[in-house]
Amino acid sequence: MLIDAMGKACPIPVVLAKKELDSGCRDLTVAVDNEAAVGNLSRLAARCGMQAESETVSGGFHVHIFGNGEIHAPVPAPASAAVSCGCGYAVFIGKDTVGSGDDTLGYNLLKMALYTLAQGDDVPASVLFMNGGVKLPAGDEPQVIESLAQLIEKGTEVLVCGTCLNYFGLTEQLKIGTVSNMYDILGRMQSAAKVITL
C-alpha cells in the first residue's frame, strides 16, 4: 500500500499512516518530501513495535513500515493551527535541576520528570542535553540511565552536547545517548512542534 503524502504538512503524513495501521495494514510505504516526516514516521513505527526503512527517491523519501506491531501510539499534535511545520515535541535540559531554589530538590525533580516521561505513551521526539544537563547521561544515577534507555526504546532520540561533555571532562563518562552538536540540537528544536525546557 502506498500513501502519497508529498507536500503534506506535519502531522498529516503520520495521521494518514496511523489510520492505515489502525485499520490493520501491516505493510505500507509513505512518500514524503522532508526529512522531519521520515523521522516522525520512523518513530511512529518504533512506538507501534514495527520496523521502518527509508530510501531517497526523486523529490523526497519513501518510508516503508512493516512488521506485526500493536497500535497504541498517539498521533503527535501540531503546536497550533498557525504552525505549518514541526511535529512531536522536544525536551531541552540545559542544567541538572528542574528550576532553581534548591539543587538537591531540583535534581530529584529532574529524575522524577525523566521517569514520568519514560513511563508515558506520548514520548518526546527528542531529549536534548546541554551545559550542566550533560551531567545526567554522563552521571552515575542508574535511574536516569534507565529512564533514558526506556525513552530510546520507545523511539526518542537522545542528543548530548559534545562541547559541553568536553568542557566538564565527561566525554569518556557518557553512558547513554548520542554525542551531538549545536547544528543538530537546534535542528531538532526547529523541527519540533514545541520545545519543553525543564
Binding site: 538537591t104 530538590l105 530529584n108 525533580l109 529524575k111 522524577m112 521517569y115 514520568t116 513511563q119 542508574p142 535511574q143 534507565e146
Partner: protein, 86 residues
C-alpha cells in the same frame, strides 16, 4: 499484571533521604500516584525482588518512619501495607 511496591512520604526531605538510603536496592523516584493522598508528590518505587531488604534498611535507619507509607501497587491500584508487613 504489573506489580510493584511504593513508598509515599509526608515530607519531601524524607523522600529524598530515603532515595539516598535505598538507591543500592534499586529504588527509583516517581510521582506519587494520584490515588494516594500523601502530602508529598515524590514517592519511591521499590523492586519486588529487593523490597524486603530495602524495608529492613529503612526500619534500621534514623528516618522518621511515621512519615513513610508503604503500598503494594497492582494494575495501578495501591493497597496500603504496614512497613513491617514484608
Amino acid at each position: 499484571v504489573s506489580c510493584y511496591y511504593l513508598l509515599a512520604f509526608d515530607s519531601t526531605h524524607t523522600a529524598i533521604a530515603a532515595d539516598r538510603l535505598l538507591k543500592p536496592f534499586g529504588a527509583a523516584i516517581m510521582p506519587t500516584l494520584r490515588s494516594i493522598s500523601a502530602s508529598c508528590g515524590m514517592s519511591l518505587r521499590l523492586r519486588t525482588e529487593t523490597v524486603s531488604d530495602a524495608l529492613s534498611a529503612l526500619r534500621e535507619s534514623d528516618l522518621e518512619l511515621p512519615l513513610c507509607h508503604l503500598y503494594r501497587v497492582e494494575d495501578s491500584v495501591p493497597v496500603p501495607l504496614a512497613l513491617d508487613a514484608l
